[in-house]
Symmetry: C2
Amino acid sequence: MTAWTLAERASKMNPSVIREILKVTEKPGIISLAGGLPSPHTFPIDAFAQAAAQVLAHEGAAALQYAASEGYAPLRQAVAEFLPWQVDPDQVLITTGSQQGLDLLAKVLIDQGSRVLVETPTYLGALQAFTPMQPRIQAVASDDDGVQVDDLAAQVGSGADKARFLYVLPNFQNPTGRSMTEARRQQLSQAAAELGLPLVEDNPYGDLWFDAPPPLPLTARNPEGCIYLGSFSKVLAPGLRLGYLVAPHAIYPKLLQAKQAADLHTPSFNQRLVAQVLQGGFLQRHVPTIRALYQRQCQAMLTALDEHLKDLGVTWNRPAGGMFLWLRLPAGMDALALLPRAVEHNVAFVPGAAFYAQDGDQRTLRLSFVTASEAQIHEAIAALARAIRASA
Amino acid sequence: MTAWTLAERASKMNPSVIREILKVTEKPGIISLAGGLPSPHTFPIDAFAQAAAQVLAHEGAAALQYAASEGYAPLRQAVAEFLPWQVDPDQVLITTGSQQGLDLLAKVLIDQGSRVLVETPTYLGALQAFTPMQPRIQAVASDDDGVQVDDLAAQVGSGADKARFLYVLPNFQNPTGRSMTEARRQQLSQAAAELGLPLVEDNPYGDLWFDAPPPLPLTARNPEGCIYLGSFSKVLAPGLRLGYLVAPHAIYPKLLQAKQAADLHTPSFNQRLVAQVLQGGFLQRHVPTIRALYQRQCQAMLTALDEHLKDLGVTWNRPAGGMFLWLRLPAGMDALALLPRAVEHNVAFVPGAAFYAQDGDQRTLRLSFVTASEAQIHEAIAALARAIRASA
């Protein structure tokens, strides 16, 4: 008998609660507001088809060959150019989705027992990426404007126990859809600099604003103190797994070495495909169509919520962009217990407790307004109201 | 000032010696026998162009959307079908190159200080993937037939210090080009089963045989005791970063969770592209053309070596497949010291010492016969002979 001995860290790994929930919701006829799947109507399929033909015809051998771990130079250049602060392309590392950026920085920055700070609640995929490196993850109190800076100071620790970084998702956060205000960004940026606390800024949704772009990223205010993560998943397509990180020169080489060991490099074909699609200002034309669609769908959800859930003691926010909206059930109700009842009514969501590093709020839940159509959203919210009434 | 504190494991990460060497050799006019780059003449560019058009036209939305972490079901099915033992598609995990397979199993199987066994010498990328998890890597004595089974027993350890696994690359090994004989496979498989020692079998080159296919994989002999790693990089194209692993049901879920945290999933587009290309027995027609090309180029290198290096006290092997050939310089010579001299003569190789977990043999070097043409190989070997003479 072969004796497989698992690493201690393997016992900390768990299946994604969300993925398990999504399996439950794969019932025919169900309208899922659970997943974080961009609307497939936003995928520029024709542009990719043209780019694929172009790339394979003119640079096929290079696109199919091994390539540099740093990423394809013209793509790194393009990223450096579209970011709203002075970025040296040598600071850009192309990653296999921004999830890989989280994995790499966990490897490079987290020792067993390291203190790592996150928002309350926070992105589940970040918790999953950090957990294998066995940090002590601590939640910083957060409100509608983002992390609360006075609690931050209390959580940072000192000496060997000083937090390795604070992970923040300032724009249209997953799961809450909330955004950090300009005032809060200024406070946080200043406090982090004074505390000598590194920030990891994750920005997959920043381009998906409705009426006005969000304030300047935290990284733009102190590039030497931040690692910035970005993604093409929400503005082009997630199935290509193309993200990037921007890191200070001081730690870039270690992230690059971790990248090399993780998968040698991100697929060269995909990088050249996207570099080709980006030419001629494609995103400037394409992203406004995504914004308009998601704004309409968000508005449809807000209208339906006002119509059906107003009198049920449920509260929710009004996101200014992104993909998600955050609900809180009345006292005494539990979102996880509500879910099977909701599925009976043909609607699915994600219970919010999974998104907390500690002490999940059982009354919260996350709704996505991007995958379902406006008509489906109306139907789903009406069904959700019926499920809530039936459970109350 | 922001205080970036690196994880202890980051201090163990180092830039790939090979990549650093390749930079030195990027001199115009140089013939590189250093890289492990498949010949771009073998890339089926037209097949990919057709498949890309097909996939985007008929399943574009799915190909560009998020997908299951396990991988695309028809591709998992295809892998299970072409492997020469009974494989359940549920045991197949699609990875972002087989390098990622090494990263995932390192996370799941290695604790700090764990004993991990490797061949002498071994694949450098495996050392790089294992090192961040801080094992004690121990080399098992190896000869032309592979690992020596009597030394294996001596290295396994016991109790908490028992080796977590032995990593082996039995077919046309990187770096040596050697293959494990049937007799040695039987001995190793039996010894591992008796010792209860898990095997990690890496097989990127197995299809690249010249006159006869290699013996049955070790995993086929004891599937519950082995993790098997495979790749499309050498039979289709490395730039798509598509590999796979096959794991016993007992540990598959942990590898899957590690995969989810690492990059969510391997690009859906690339998986569907390859699934499309594989249809209709494409590999059965395509791979023989790669074998024939590499066999001719290997023969060209052997002929040139016989012609130019015979009288210089250099020894080398005669690979039966794969991409590499292994040279040993005469006593007193050092391959690392030879390299700059070789570059002056317009030829590059990889010094062999980097491939050893301990006590690298400074006289060894690796030559690739797949990237350069036959004419270039002749010229390069003649140049290598001149460099050796000049250094002697």
